[in-house]
């Protein structure tokens, strides 16, 4: 099975930035329903700042790339998503280190490290109606697929499906973390904005890492 290069990871980030740009009004709209109407704007501001560092980032090793993404998100996004996605990439970078390519199995570990960072920072569990509801099943599906010998393409496609399922599962939930939790029962019936942007993260991966 072929490895994933630093250039592909950079393409992933670029692709994600493009998805965010396209979906930013939708993400903000989701956040207006159960949050404070800024998730799209937050993510867009962050990833536009990442793109502005293209010259530095596209020639970096994978650890440096992820660290660059992390620091940029942390210093430009603010809000819950800035801290959380920032932490995700920061932890991912420590796992990727100075490598310039990752095996699909390495990538699973990198994703798991990132997820662990988010959970440590945000203390959300499955069912709290957060990005974790999409992120955790997606990573699990990806790893199981890779571990059972399926192709990277298959694994990423399963990750996307799992993320989408996870996102769908957030709809009926009553939020227990983040701003949406202030709504109590009224948060039910809406998809979680962060879980929605997480689906885009995996969709971007499927579109750029193979």
């Amino acid at each position: 099975m072929s490895n994933i290069s630093a250039a592909q990871f950079f393409a992933w980030i670029e692709r994600y930035a493009a998805h965010i740009a396209e979906q930013k009004d939708y993400l903000t709209q989701l956040d207006a329903a159960i949050g404070d109407a800024d998730h799209g704007a937050n993510m867009h501001r962050g990833f536009q700042a990442v793109l502005a560092k293209k010259d530095d980032l596209q020639n970096s090793d994978i650890g440096a790339l992820f660290k660059g993404v992390a620091m940029t998100l942390i210093s430009t996004v603010g809000g819950a998503s800035g801290a959380l996605y920032g932490t995700f990439f920061l932890q991912a970078s420590t796992m990727a280190g100075t490598k310039t390519e990752l095996t699909p199995g390495d990538f699973a570990s990198v994703l798991e490290k990132g997820l662990a960072g988010i959970v440590l920072r945000g203390k959300a569990a499955i069912g709290d109606k957060t990005m974790v509801d999409a992120l955790q099943p997606a990573i699990k599906a990806y790893k199981r697929s890779i571990d059972s010998g399926e192709s990277l393409e298959q694994a990423l496609s399963k990750a996307v499906s799992a993320a989408e399922e996870g996102l769908k599962s957030t709809v009926p939930l009553v939020a227990r973390k983040g701003r949406a939790s202030y709504l109590g029962e009224r948060s039910a019936g809406h998809p979680d904005p962060g879980a929605t942007s997480t689906v885009l993260l995996f969709r971007s991966a499927a579109e750029s890492l193979t």
């Binding site: 603010g78 800035g82 801290a83």
Partner: protein, 333 residues
Amino acid sequence: MKKLINSPENVVLESITGLGAAFSDLIKVHTNPNYIIRADAPVKNKVALVSGGGSGHEPMHGGFVGRGMLDAACPGAVFTSPTPDQMFEATKAVNGGKGVLHIVKNYTGDVMNFEMAADLARAEGIDVEAVVIDDDVAVKDSLYTAGRRGVGTTVLAEKICGAAAESGQALKEVAALCHKVNANGRSMGMALTSCTVPHVGKPTFELPEDEMEIGIGIHGEPGRTRMKLKSADEITEILLTPIIEDLPFKAGDEVLLFVNSMGGTPLLELFVVYRKAHEILTKSGVKVTRSLVGPYITSLEMAGTSVTVLKLDDELTKLWDAPVLTPGLRWGG
């Protein structure tokens, strides 16, 4: 969207630039990263107070920087928590060697970003304590959720802790005082209209001409319940009842009554609400000994009000009365 702005991207930067120009005797505005500090910062041998949060709540927090209140404020994008580097730089800029208190409103983003900033500052050897304000009775308090939001009590905590820091108290003491203020303050708000976030361009929610939102937050996030519009007296009662029951406030208590405008509600109406709140408290035997009425923790141009009641004792009263010299709040010599 009808706003006096040039562009949604520049509104925060241009606004704090204006703030700095208007009050250059009291504050200094640093940009990139954005933070506002006292003109005389760092004040040697004084605990420094740093707060911050999304913009759109003016005068909070930038307008509360100055002698007797905050040493620094970090304005985020509109309704978005500031970033750790803003808080970290501000913390360094105002640290006078006696440690820094972060006063954080309880929103996931604010809490996490302030935690990251505190980690960075501690790594540089700065003594940092953080106190999270969570006084909004509209939200159910629970260990299993993000908990209550931080609203009106934040303003009172910044004033009172600012006075304590000015008087020479140590970091641990000021932090304990901040917890005490938080423990004794309760708030609840309501909206008549939605606000419009500049970069969104349309109202965050739609509220029919004959309805209001009760238990609203300060970010246009939906409240506890939506109901038919009522009279000012009825609304005041709806806001005050859960506040009184929650602490609970009881006969004999002395309190500070803070009636806040969400931004679009003018003083004429605010004093109608104040009048009724004062009457309800007085009738329950609670004595209003201090008051604050005006737009102090706002939600852009949202019309509506929030009521905060803080139980006072001699210590809090004395610190409340102490001189304060900031763009948004000033009294005393």
